[in-house]
Structure formats: C-alpha cells, structure tokens
C-alpha cells in the first residue's frame, strides 16, 4: 500500500489522474498501487541512460510524449530497410500498436501532454517489423539490432492465440536470442520482455507459443485492477511476472500514447503489460547497470508478489517462492526491484544439464495417465554442467497423437512441485503431435534438481476418435538450467535471506517479508565442530576421516576427485571426463569436451562428450566436423569423406559438395564434363548434350542449362527462332538471349508492351494491343467521359471492353 498523498509527486500531464496503476487518486481510501512505481521514482530512478526498444509496427517518433526520449539509434525499419520507424498511416490506424506500447515505457513526464511513462527518462526506440511479411529473417534481424546499445527489447506479439497453433521462433530467431543473451549489452545479455498470449477465451495455452515459452524471454501476463483474471489471459508455467492491463468494461483501463499525437484508454489486452515490466526493468538497470539477463530474471522472481491477485493455484515451491500458472511469481514491484538491484551481485554462471529418458516408445491410452520418470543427479559427474539449484526447466517431447488438443502434460519435480506444461485445448484438432517441442516451467525456480522427475501425460478424448489409434510418447528430455552453487549464498551480505525493504507501513511489509523467506540450508555460523569417531567410508585410506561420507576421507585408497574449492571426494574409479593418474592417485580432467581419455596431452582423448566429435590425430573434440569429414554418430568421430567429396553427410560417399573437378549428381560426385556434354550416370561417362544446348543436365532438348550459340531460351528449351507469340529479348541475369512472351492474345510483336502487329482470332489490333471483338453496354457520352477521366483504359478489363467501344464511339 502506498500513501494516497499525491502532493509529493504530481505531474501536469492531463491523464495523470487516470493513471491508477502508478498512483491512487481516491483520498478517502487506501488504494492499491502495488507496483510501487512512485516509491521507485522517489528513490531517484526514472530510467536515465537505459535504452528500450519496441519490436512492433513502428513508433510515432514525433509524438509529443515520445519525441524528447526518442532514440534514433534504438530504432530501425526492418520492413522498409531504413532507419525511420514511423508507422504506416491508414484510415483504420492499424499500426497504432507500437506507439501505444512505447508510451507505457517512456512517455515524457510533466509536458502537459497525455501520460507519464514508467521509465519517463529512458531512451525509447522502435523497430518496425510487423507491417509486412514476417519471416524468420525479419525476426532475427529485429532481435539483433544494436545489441550493445539497446538494453531492453519489448515485444507484444506472437503466433496466433487461437487455441490451435503451436509455433515459435525459427532457427535464425533462436540464434538471435542466444546471441543476444550471450553477447548483447557487452556480454551482460540483452533483455527480452514478451507479452503472454491473448487466447484465454480460445482456451489457448502460452506453452504453445515458443516466444513466451523461451528461457530467454521474460514472459509477462496481466491482471485487472481488482486482481482478477482478465478474459484474454492464458495460463502457463513459463510466465514469470505480471502487471496491470485492461479487463471487463467496468474495470479501469490503462491510458497510453496513441497514433496521430493522441492519447487512448482503449482496450489493451495483454500488450501493455510487457512494456510496463520493461519500464520497471529499466528502473532496475538504472539502479545497477551491471546486472545480467539472468540477474534480471532472479530479481523478478525474488521481488514479484502475489499481492491481491486472485488465482486458485497459488502454491509455494520447495525454495519458498509463491507461484501461479496465471501470474508467475506475481505482480512486479518497482521499488523492490530497484532496492534489490542496487545491492545485487551477479548470480553464478549458468549451467545446463540434459537428461534424456532411456525408455523406448510408450503408448498414451485414452483416459489413463501415463507417468514417465527420469532420475537425475543434475550432471554431478560433469562439473561444467552440474546443476544443483534450478532456474528454468525445459521439457522437450516427441509425441505423436491423432488430436493434439486432447493432451494434458504435467511435470512433477523431486520436491513435489507440479507444473502444468499443457492444458487441454478444445480447438486444437491437429494430428501433428509435438515434434521435439520444448515446454518450459519456472515453477521449480530455486529448488534442488537431484531426484526423480515425473512427466504426466493424460489423453482425454473430447470428441469421437478412432480408439485404435493411440498416441505415443516417443522421446522426452529434461534440460535443467541453473547453478552449481547457491545463487545468493556466495554473497550473503548482498542477498539477505529476507528482503529487507524499507517499506513504511509495518503490517504488510512484515507479511511481505514472511513470504519470501528462503529455506535455512546452511549451518549456523559459530557452531562448533565435534571430532568424528564413527566408521569411515570404504574408499578412505588408513581409516582416517572426519565423517562417514566419501568426501570426509583424509586420504583415498584409489583416487581423489575434485579440488579444494569444490571439495574432494574419494572414488574407486574416475567418472567420465577424467582420467586416472595412478601415480598421484587423482582423477584429472580430460581436455575440454573429452569424455574418455588416457591423459591430458594431444592424442590422449578416446571419445568425446555427447554432441561433440573426435577429430584428427591430436584427438580434438569438435562441435562439427571440418570440411572433408563427416560426423559418425556411433563412435562420435569425424571420418574422412570420399576423395571426390568436399563435404559429405553420415557416410563417406553421401556427398553434399564436391572436390574441384567434380560436380554433384544426387549425392554422388561425378567428374565435371566439358561444355556441350553431361555426365551420364548409367554409362558413367560424359555424353553429348542436345545440339541446342551449350551446357545441360541430360540428353533431351528440354534439359539445357544454357543454350548453344544462335539458340534462344524459350520456356525450358532452346530454339533457333522464337515461336508465334514470342519475341527475342535479352535475359536480365544470364548471358544468353531469351524468347519473351508477347502481350496477351498477340501472335506477333516487336518487343514488350503495346507493340503487337498481329492478333489471335476474335481480337482486333488497336494501338498495338489486341482488343476483344466485343462492345460493352452503356458506352454513351457520359460513360465514356468517365472512362477517360478515370484513365480506365489503363486497366486491362476496361481496355478489353469499354475502351474500344468508346474509341469507336469517338
């Protein structure tokens, strides 16, 4: 709750009094502005030096509320391939969306115009990319514009929210996200904020939207002023946080900037929620510009609160976080974000551990729940991949099913936290199943990874289906993202176990602290250690130890694994990724990427980790084999391609590119033949082309690539002279002449356009064009005047009918 005393901050913007989500105007009641934006401003954070851009249909850069903060360098027009993100104006104001989103982030304060943005001193740009064909290239370009300059990319769009679409970023957009989080913001990682879907009424599920469902995006959902679920809201387990947006007609709406220098309080769906959170993140980045993309997500998890948001599924996970499928970790809290950001230290590096089910295909029987399990240690054997404390959990599934919408999928963590990865989708009749689709949950954030994970798949037929066709769970994997050490304990002074916010009102703030208490896991400081006198582990040498476990040994019988920093333990054999140094009785690490080795030097690696291939005499592990080699999957080695192949796939003689002097025929490299010949696969020799061809792919006259001298290309053949209805012309890009088609209905012409000299039967020659021998009705003087004044004769239909009639009529 914040004070309703508005005297301490007041702006002259006309819509300021309607901005209930930033402050309250009701003097008689304490009211709910629980995003605590005023308090963040009072601490001095308004988004200065932070750059935000809106990926959308453009922004109106000369809008009085945006022009002062508009940033040309944070803007681009991908649709028009220039630097001006101004939207295309039309009578329906179709392209208002980006401008509306932009105002929510960075509308100028106190300029007597419209509204105040949440980060009203931030720089704001727009990337115009939705006003044209959207392709993977368009998305990848947009997500990768000036990543070292732009801090936050906010997007409020996605695949159809119709409850039957399963779609996400293509390969280039995925790479752009990955590149952004790895290299953007000079290595701190770009921040991508994404609006959760609008398909609530269609029973859509935001897990079927690969953008909000990505670990690289901060997926934002919406709530109404009263904390109710808006009608458009989609449930899902990848939603991280929530902000306000519009709801029913009686709910108060959000005001923002609109096209043509106006303001609006029109329905905003979920779209303004993302820029609101982008604005709050801008405040946090001003408080601490050195936080990484993952720090921002940790900050949101730590500081967002259930507040008064109504949901039946609020639960507390094993790490003490309250989380819901509607609102993620709850309403964003700007003040808490800036306070925490200010003292934040970067979380430890992200580790990724993948576990794949070893089961073969399992059938999904109607109305029976299929439970599949994976037990994991969190890749404890691979220090570089080990995950102990969770962030995102991705579940990749390969499911075939005759009606995708009948499936429900849940994931249960070892601590018992159940996330619904997918609910039934009534409108989804697709029989495509899920082909390596990646679901994602944040509901296990902070929990420990070790133990048994259960995937529950339930098929509840909603309409008649062939009962003999069963769905199949063919393959599934868990991809754990997180850290090997506690994300906050390593710098406990910065991350207090309870959020010590200086919030004036004692009651609610105490309640708030209680909600985010982390489980006590470390031993209390000052506790004295007692000398151990029990039995030692069997791997301990000389029965000397200070505890019962293998990591309590003072010396090892066989091998010691680990180091002083991570802790040492005794093992009988070294795990994968290590070799046994028998002299020193230590497990020593193999070279990078090597899974099995006999030493550290060149040539010591015997096999590589999954996804890597052993190459060359020096035994290097590589992600992909070099040119001239192919990746052999069984031994995971790079093997040489056939000598004629420059590149090959899966086998030495399945060529995809050829060495010099050879060319590709299917997947075989055959000798290149001289001009006028082609390689005859059956005879295995160069045979002559048809005499009309200069180069060809076969003996036929329609298999020419280039035509012989004195021949012209007509359609797919080479001809000595152009046929009736064609004229000889130059090809734009090929160094040979082509026969081009005359105008329609023309049998003979001199070139392109109205140059016809002979027409088909039923047509007459009029001014170089062939006009049908028919007249149109109503060709009176007035009508012909209209034809003339509207230049209808330039249009094909009229030229064929009324032009001739009008010409004859004079």
């Amino acid at each position: 709750y914040t004070s309703n005393d508005l005297n301490f901050i007041h702006f002259n913007d006309p819509k300021w009094s309607s901005m209930w989500y930033i402050h309250c105007g009701d003097k008689n009641n304490r009211c709910r502005s629980e995003m605590n934006i005023l308090a963040a401003w009072q601490r001095g954070y308004t988004g200065k030096n932070v750059v935000v851009t809106i990926l959308d249909d453009g922004i109106e850069k000369n809008h009085p509320d945006l022009s002062q903060n508009f940033d040309q360098l944070a803007s681009y027009d991908v649709n028009g391939n220039d630097h001006d993100p101004t939207p295309r104006y039309d009578s329906s104001n179709e392209n208002k969306h980006g401008t509306r989103c932009a105002g929510e982030v960075a509308a100028v304060a106190n300029n007597s115009h419209c509204i105040v943005g949440i980060a009203f001193n931030a720089r704001i740009g727009g990337i115009r990319m939705l006003d044209g064909d959207v392709t993977d290239v368009v998305e990848a370009k947009s997500l990768g514009i000036r990543p070292d300059y732009i801090d936050i990319y906010s997007a409020s769009w996605g695949p159809e929210d119709d409850g039957k679409t399963v779609d996400g970023p293509g390969p280039l957009a995925k790479q752009a996200f990955e590149m952004g989080i790895k290299k953007g913001r000079k290595g701190l990682g770009s921040i991508f904020v994404w609006a959760s879907g609008n398909g609530g009424r269609q029973g859509d599920h935001c897990s079927c939207d690969g953008y909000t469902n990505s670990i690289y995006t901060i997926s934002v959902s919406s709530t109404t002023e009263s904390g109710a679920k808006p009608w458009y809201l989609e449930v899902c387990s990848s939603t991280l946080a929530t902000s306000y947006s519009s709801g029913e007609f009686y709910d108060r709406k959000i005001v923002t900037t609109d096209l043509r220098q106006r303001c609006t309080d029109g329905h905003t769906g979920t779209s303004v929620s993302a820029p609101m959170v982008a604005g709050v993140i801008a405040l946090a980045l001003e408080a601490n510009p050195l936080i990484t993309w993952r720090d921002v997500q940790h900050l949101l998890v730590k500081t967002s609160r259930p507040a008064h948001l109504k949901a039946s599924d609020w639960k507390t996970n094993a790490a003490g976080h309250r989380v819901s499928h509607l609102y993620g970790f709850g309403l964003v809290d700007a003040e808490a974000m800036v306070v925490e950001a200010k003292k934040w230290r970067n979380v430890p590096p992200q580790h990724i551990c993948t576990e794949t089910s070893t089961y073969r295909t399992r059938y999904i029987r109607a109305d029976q729940q299929l439970n599949a399990t994976i037990t994991t240690s969190g890749c404890a054997d691979h220090p570089g991949q080990q995950v102990v404390y969770l962030e995102h959990v991705v579940v990749r599934v390969l499911i075939s099913h005759s009606r995708r919408g009948d499936l429900q999928i849940n994931l249960v963590s070892p601590a018992g936290t159940r996330s619904q990865l997918l609910a039934k989708r009534l409108f989804d009749n697709s029989n495509e199943g899920f082909r390596n689709w990646e679901f994602m949950t944040v509901h296990c954030w902070g929990e420990k990874v070790e133990g048994q994970w259960t995937l529950e798949v339930l098929d509840s037929p909603s309409q008649m289906r062939n009962p003999e066709v069963l769905g199949k769970l063919k393959e599934w994997s868990l991809i754990f993202h997180g850290t090997s050490e506690h994300p906050y304990h390593s710098h406990s002074s910065q991350h207090s176990r309870s959020r010590m916010l200086e919030i004036p009102s004692p009651g609610p703030s105490l309640e708030r602290k209680a909600l985010v208490l982390l489980p006590e896991e470390d031993e209390e400081e000052g506790e004295e250690e007692e000398e151990y006198s029990g039995p030692c582990h069997t791997e301990c040498r000389d029965r000397s130890c200070d505890g019962p476990a293998a990591d309590h040994c003072l010396n090892c019988i066989h091998f010691s694994l680990g180091n002083l920093k991570t802790g040492r333990t005794c093992v009988s054999h070294c795990p994968r990724g290590y070799f046994e140094d028998t002299e020193a009785r230590r497990c020593r690490r193999c070279a990078k990427g090597c899974e099995r080795c006999v030493g550290q030097g060149p040539g010591a690696c015997r096999s590589c980790r999954r996804g890597l291939y052993l190459y060359g005499a020096d035994g290097t592990c590589m992600e992909s084999c070099p040119v001239g080699y192919y990746a052999e999957e069984i031994q995971r080695r790079c093997l040489k391609c056939h000598e004629n192949c420059m590149r090959c796939l899966r086998d030495a003689d399945r060529c995809t590119a050829c060495s010099k002097g050879y060319s590709l025929a299917g997947m075989t490299c055959v000798p290149e033949c001289a001009d006028g010949t082609f390689f005859h696969l059956e005879e295995m020799k160069c045979s002559p082309c048809h005499h009309s061809c200069f180069t060809c792919t076969g003996p036929g006259k329609e298999e020419c690539i280039h035509c012989a001298q004195d021949f012209l290309q007509q359609d797919w053949a080479c001809v000595p002279v152009c046929s009736e209805g064609y004229y000889p012309g130059e090809a734009a890009s090929l160094a040979q002449r082509m026969c081009r088609r005359c105008e329609e209905n023309c049998l003979s012409c001199q070139g392109p356009g109205v140059t016809c000299s002979r027409c088909r039967d039923g047509y007459s020659l009029v001014g170089g064009s062939c006009i049908i021998n028919a007249t149109c009705n109503n060709a009176d003087e007035v009508f012909c005047e209209m034809v003339k004044s509207n230049r209808l004769c330039e249009k094909k239909l009229f030229r064929q009918f009324c032009c001739k009639t009008c010409l004859i009529a004079g």
């Binding site: 959308d56 990848a140 997500l143 159809e160 929210d161 779609d167 890009s733």
Partner: protein, 86 residues
C-alpha cells in the same frame, strides 16, 4: 515448412568467407544481397526479384543452383510466419 506454407522471394544463407564472398554468390545466382542478418555472423539475407513474391510452393529456376554451391553452408527460402499483435 508444412504444406500450408507461403514461400517468399527471400532467402537466408550461411556463407563462409565474409561479406565479399556473400556478394559474389548473390551476383552469381541473380540474388540481391540485403546484408548480414542482425548480429548473426556469416548469415546473409538474399532477395530474388525474379521469383514470385508469395507462393504456395518453393519455386525452382536458375537461382536454385545456389543450394548446391560449395560455398553455401546452409540456405533456407523464407516462409511467411503468421504473427499477431496482442
């Protein structure tokens, strides 16, 4: 892409050898090189003005030979993705 895909006259191409090599390849097969795709190194955006702008099938022609060029690591004709504002 599924059978309902709409193919455009734009391509994404991964080419080793830098922008000059990309430019050379584009010229060789009649494409217009629209430059690197965002921050993705070695990835270029090619456009072919002689190919129909939107088509329900992937069109073949002399430009298709680029798929077989040894300098090209990967190439993909771009399909229209239905994206809605929220």
């Amino acid at each position: 892409p599924s059978s309902r895909s709409l193919y455009t006259n734009h391509w994404a191409v991964r080419v080793r050898g830098g922008p000059q090599e990309a430019e050379r390849l584009a010229l060789k097969y009649g494409f217009n090189n629209l430059g690197q795709i965002g921050s993705l190194e070695d990835h270029y955006h090619f456009h072919h003005s002689k190919v129909v702008r939107r088509s329900t099938f992937s069109t073949r022609g002399p430009h298709s030979f680029i798929h077989m060029d040894p300098k090209v690591d990967w190439i993909q004709q771009q399909v229209v993705k239905s994206r809605v504002k929220r």
